[in-house]
């Protein structure tokens, strides 16, 4: 299946839950609403022609206006690749965990919680991970985070 065929198949088979975006520069990129996340994830994994069983990456982005969580998945048997993202506003920053569908998501979601402050429901193990044990300076990867020894370099 080529990338365009994949895009058309996904659009037609998920009755509108996956809306295509054109920001993806190589692989197809879709947008999902936070409430549909678990249905879409289960559908992608169990569909007979797609079988997306390998979760490559979960990345959180702070664009300055909202949060985005980007899921990158791949299919081992069919050699396919797909990305989709969920947009969250700053004051409602919570998401469901997908670790029942892809167990690899456990640590990725823990890191998203720790560095961005996005609450992950049904995770079970949201504890201190990468930062020191006595860290009290907030969530460092947010755009509005600052510290006395953090130097912002100019464009030169």
């Amino acid at each position: 299946m080529t990338r365009d065929e994949l895009k058309r198949h996904v659009e037609s088979h998920f009755n509108g839950k996956l809306t295509p975006l054109d920001t993806g520069r190589f692989d197809p990129m879709f947008e999902v609403r936070p409430d549909d996340l678990l249905d879409v994830a289960r559908g992608l994994r169990d569909d007979d022609e797609l079988k997306f069983d390998f979760l490559c990456n979960i990345g959180a982005v702070d664009t300055g206006e909202h949060f985005e969580i980007v899921y990158s998945v791949a299919s081992i048997g069919k050699s396919l690749r797909l990305d989709f993202k969920v947009t969250l506003s700053y004051d409602k920053a919570e998401i469901e965990s997908v670790q029942e569908i892809w167990p690899a998501a456990n640590w990725h979601e823990r890191e998203v919680w720790e560095l961005y402050g996005i609450d992950v429901k049904n995770h079970g193990n949201l504890k201190r991970f990468l930062l020191p044990d006595d860290w009290d300076q907030g969530h460092p990867m947010r755009k509005d985070w600052d510290a006395p020894d953090f130097v912002r370099l100019s464009e030169e």
Partner: protein
């Protein structure tokens, strides 16, 4: 006796052979410098260069330096690699567990002042000299094995020039 002709300059030559005299400091510090055992402590990229320096081509063993896995049997910590704020108390604890006389070599840019992570890393300790007292700094990112060997030879020179009371006051 042929040996007398080859003794190092600081040993007095006694005519007739048979007895050599030197100061206690001289012989003890010479013996100590030629057998410094280092702790296998490597966190990041410099650890690979430390491994290469200890391996076949650039050999640490010819200087008398063998790696030891525990600080109780080591004289030297070669702090190779970035030390983060989470790791800093552990480095201090390892240093405290070593028996005196003990030495520290700061290998690589990250241990000297933070290296490439100096400006804007929120989790890196910018230099280890506010955690442990450092004897020799070896710059580089990562330093070549020859630089590290020169650092160790400088350490040997430093040890040989020590006076006895220095050990107890460290």
């Amino acid at each position: 006796m042929g040996v007398i002709k080859k003794v190092p300059y600081y040993l007095d030559k006694v005519p007739g052979g048979g007895i050599m005299s030197t100061s206690l400091e001289g012989i003890l510090s010479h013996a100590q410098a030629c057998s410094v055992w280092y702790l296998l402590f490597g966190t990041a990229c410099c650890a690979i260069e430390l491994m290469c320096t200890g391996a076949s081509r650039y050999d640490f063993d010819r200087l008398g330096m063998i790696f030891r896995p525990t600080p109780r049997q080591a004289d030297l910590i070669i702090a190779a690699g970035t030390i983060t704020k989470k790791m800093a108390p552990r480095l201090r604890r390892l240093y405290d567990q070593m028996a005196e006389p003990r030495y520290v070599i700061a290998m690589g840019g990250c241990t000297i002042n933070g290296g490439p992570f100096y400006y804007d890393s929120y989790a890196v300790e910018k230099g280890i000299d506010h955690i442990v007292p450092v004897d020799i700094y070896v710059p580089g990112c990562p330093p070549r094995p020859e630089s590290l060997l020169e650092g160790c030879l400088n350490l040997q020179k430093k040890i040989k020039s020590q006076k006895l009371p220095d050990w107890h006051e460290k």
